[in-house]
Amino acid sequence: MNQTINVAYVADLAHIALTPDEVVLLQGQLEGLLQYVGKIGEVDVSGVEPMVYGLAEAASAFREDTVEPSGLREQMLAMAPARHGNEFKLPKIVEDA
């Protein structure tokens, strides 16, 4: 069974604006990729636990969540697309209620 993908819909979910040409190009690319990766469906995985982490040994070490100064606020704001004082500035948006 060939998997179909609604590229425009998924791009919307992924928050990526595409041109109509890109939608057509990606449609072909992604259907090809899905056809290729679909071959993993033939593997018998009964009783197999999914491997979620890079290594079981390295899974999620936890530490105390303590507040520490980063000291980087000014440098981070300096690289923002736009700033207003000590805040990231966004374009003015008036959305329909």
Binding site: L30, G38, K39, Q75
Partner: protein, 382 residues
């Protein structure tokens, strides 16, 4: 082990993704940021006395480190006739390394000799409390491990990697290791042929997640166009900022993580990934290291004979090339399994292209692959 002065005055080039304080952070072409701190691995290089250089400071040092996701350092090392090493997942801290695919990323190296690799790994390896995936395990003395010799080493010969027309150089290299006293053992890695498909799925899913941070708000590209909603700001900024490959990856990843595909593709890929890892665990019960080619020969990619087994021909091969790259077929299994791998030059093709001998070891078995590679370099290679 005290690493102070271990690389005194040695220039080490740090490539892409890895933060070097005050240097441009080159994650993609459109994000122009300056790194605000050193990645842990860079701090360790400095502690060892190395001279850290980046892409913008041009010169040609013989030691390079870079983030590796699908075995790139080994393929790059082969192409340049160098030694490449990808440590086990968790061996080297990823703190300050911009993630590509978080469950596979590991800082690797391309260097001149196996001895260089041992010294550099000594400096890079070790637990880092700032990286939750960094392994809290002791770091062996890699220089000392080099001296083990070829005699008595059990070398696995995975037949899946040799069953089609492979480069003769690698086959000969393995034979010569046998003549030098190693025991050659046939091993099986039956899920190898699914590795590229599993890698493609996991990579897309993790990239879609990691690239979520590029939204045009705090850093990176922001659209100059008028926007009528926050979602519109995100979509336009990302549509302009991402290149074709990033768009393909993010949209595929978003799709695969969606309700309709999650079990069928993503969870299935994680399970096949577990089987790939199990293949290695079983094989390493019979051998210390494995030897195989770094990449399939071009012939394999082009002929129907090998091609049908290793890949279902995609609808439009040229168009999907950014993601399905069979060159990776022999290096992604190690990345998926989290084990370590190394490439050492073993000759040249008839056309004069350098050929690498890939040596894989169990997770945190870097001393074994270094020993095997050093013995090959010193005792076997003429």
């Amino acid at each position: 082990m005290d690493i102070s002065g271990l690389l005194q005055g040695v220039p080490v080039k740090v490539l892409g993704q890895i933060n070097v304080k005050d240097k441009p952070c080159t994650y993609d072409s459109k994000t122009r940021c300056v790194s605000l701190f050193d990645a842990t691995v860079v701090a360790r290089l400095r502690q060892a006395g190395a001279s850290v250089v980046t892409e913008t400071t041009y010169n040609n040092p013989s030691l390079k480190i870079r983030c590796d996701t699908g075995g790139r350092v080994c393929r790059e090392a082969e192409a340049y006739g160098c030694v490449g090493l990808k440590p086990s997942y968790g061996r080297v801290s990823r703190y300050g390394v911009i993630p590509y695919a978080s469950s596979m990323d590991q800082v690797g190296m391309v260097v001149r000799t196996v001895g260089d690799a041992a010294d550099l790994l000594q400096v890079m390896a070790g637990h880092d409390p700032l990286d939750g995936t960094s392994a809290n395990l002791p770091v062996p003395d890699y220089r000392a491990a080099l001296q083990g010799g070829m005699k008595g080493l059990r070398i696995g010969f995975p037949k899946e990697y040799f069953e089609v027309d492979m480069g003769e150089e690698v086959r000969k290299a393995v034979e010569n290791c046998g003549k030098a006293g190693a025991e050659i053992v046939e091993v099986n890695l039956p899920h190898t042929e699914y590795a590229v498909a599993v890698y493609t799925i996991i990579l897309a899913a993790e990239r879609a997640t990691n690239l979520g941070r590029f939204d045009g708000v705090r850093y990176g590209h922001r659209t100059a166009e008028n926007v009528d909603s926050v979602a519109d700001l995100f979509a336009k900024s990302r549509g302009e900022g991402f290149d074709a490959e990033e768009k393909q990856s993010v949209i595929l990843g978003t799709y695969l993580l969606g309700k309709a595909c999650y079990e069928r593709y993503f969870v299935q890929a994680q399970k096949v990934r577990a089987l790939i890892r199990r293949d290695f665990e079983e094989a390493f019960k019979k051998c210390d290291v494995m030897m195989m080619p770094v990449r399939p020969t071009l012939a394999l990619c082009l002929t129907k004979r090998g091609g049908e087994r290793w890949m279902t021909p995609p609808v439009r091969p040229a168009a999907v090339r950014p993601c399905i790259n069979l060159e990776r077929a022999f290096t992604v299994p190690a990345s998926l399994a989290g084990i370590c791998g190394l490439s050492v030059p073993c000759g040249k093709t008839k056309g004069g292209q350098p050929v690498g001998l890939q040596i894989l070891g169990p997770a945190f078995g870097e001393e074994l692959i270094l020993r095997a590679a050093y013995a090959y370099e010193q005792e076997v290679r003429s």
